[in-house]
């Protein structure tokens, strides 16, 4: 029976039986895509198995990669108006060489409670880490900053396209040193740091969750000719 199970797992594209300790939270978009696909299959409706219409991209495999990075604790809380600093790291080893990347979306969920009575406006900055972390170094050496935006009110998960960055990491895994996330109090608003700000930043750190939604297309399973034929 074990041999048969192994064969079946291989067929599903898995190396061995997985035993996750806890299930990762599944974002609503993945649940919706699953339900739409299942409903179409049950109804016998035709569906292009190599196109994700909910995301508007080609692909037949969707992965939600969890963040395996860590928070950087500042020696002095809120120094230089910093609320939170975190290294985000995504292990992309599961993506096979033959898979073509069609979408990579970074999702930052700050937790709706974090925004409640936000008070000061916060600013979020994201940059690609380009040098390995050195021993004794407080913060990683950030490279190109690719996002800078204000957080004004509850707005659900923040999304950023990382297609080019992930494409680069995929072709050269050694370059995957992660992303550097900083959340700061906007200039001029953090003067006289008070209890409220400390509270917001603590809540933010507690409820913060990052993941990377990656869509890939396996050309062996999605040949252009077969897509046209369908």
């Amino acid at each position: 029976l074990q041999l048969q199970e192994y064969d079946f797992l291989q067929f599903l594209g898995l190396d061995k039986m997985t035993l996750p300790r806890t299930f990762q939270p599944v974002p609503s978009i993945l649940n919706k895509i699953f339900q739409d696909w299942e409903a179409a299959a049950t109804a016998g409706d035709w569906q292009d198995l190599c196109y994700v219409k909910e995301l508007g991209v080609y692909g037949n495999l969707l992965r939600l990669v969890p963040d395996q990075g860590f928070f950087l604790y500042l020696k002095k809380p809120f120094q230089d108006d910093y609320c939170l600093q975190k290294l985000l790291y995504f292990n992309l080893s599961a993506i096979k060489a033959k898979e073509q990347l069609t979408m990579a979306q970074l999702r930052l969920d700050l937790g709706s409670n974090s925004y409640y009575n936000l008070g000061p406006e916060l600013e979020l900055a994201l940059s690609v880490v380009q040098e390995p972390h050195k021993w004794g170094q407080v913060t990683p050496t950030p490279g190109r900053r690719f996002a800078l935006q204000s957080i004004l009110w509850p707005q659900g998960a923040l999304r950023f396209s990382l297609q080019d960055v992930v494409q680069g990491w995929n072709s050269n895994p050694q370059k995957n040193l992660g992303l550097f996330l900083e959340i700061m109090v906007q200039e001029g608003r953090g003067s006289g740091v008070n209890f409220q700000l400390e509270d917001i930043c603590t809540r933010l750190r507690r409820s913060f969750h990052a993941s990377l939604l990656v869509v890939t297309l396996n050309p062996e399973q999605c040949q252009p000719s077969s897509r046209k034929r369908r």
Binding site: L14, L30, L62
Partner: protein, 114 residues
């Protein structure tokens, strides 16, 4: 020469048999998020020459059944899936990635002789 019509019980004729496998019985509920199980339907039954035209058969199955009647060394037409549908699985892998993927032609919807 006329071919004698063998007596075949309707029960033994080619048709779809429903089978549901609950992932919990396999312990797979620990890594499969959805669905709860898999419709492992299968096709089984006889494809006698006299009834091939009624059993959702291909023309080839009709010819093969005819040949089998004439020469028993030719294998009988077999009961096979004629309509399949895909399934989608949402699961978590060893790296804690949540994966959603389609598997084409996984569920047997209809059977016939082929």
């Amino acid at each position: 020469a006329a071919i004698p019509v063998p007596k075949v019980s309707c029960k033994n004729l080619c048709h779809r048999h429903q089978l549901f496998i609950n992932f919990k019985d396999l312990g797979w509920h620990k890594w499969v998020i959805a669905p709860k199980g898999f419709m492992a339907n299968y096709c089984h039954g006889d494809c006698p020459f006299s009834l091939t035209t009624y059993l959702n058969s291909s023309n080839y199955a009709f010819m093969q059944a005819l040949m089998h009647e004439v020469d028993p060394e030719v294998p009988q037409a077999t009961c096979i899936p004629t309509k399949l549908s895909p399934i989608s699985i949402l699961y978590q892998d060893n790296n804690d990635n949540v994966i959603l993927r389609h598997y084409e032609d996984m569920v047997v919807d209809e059977c016939g002789c082929g």
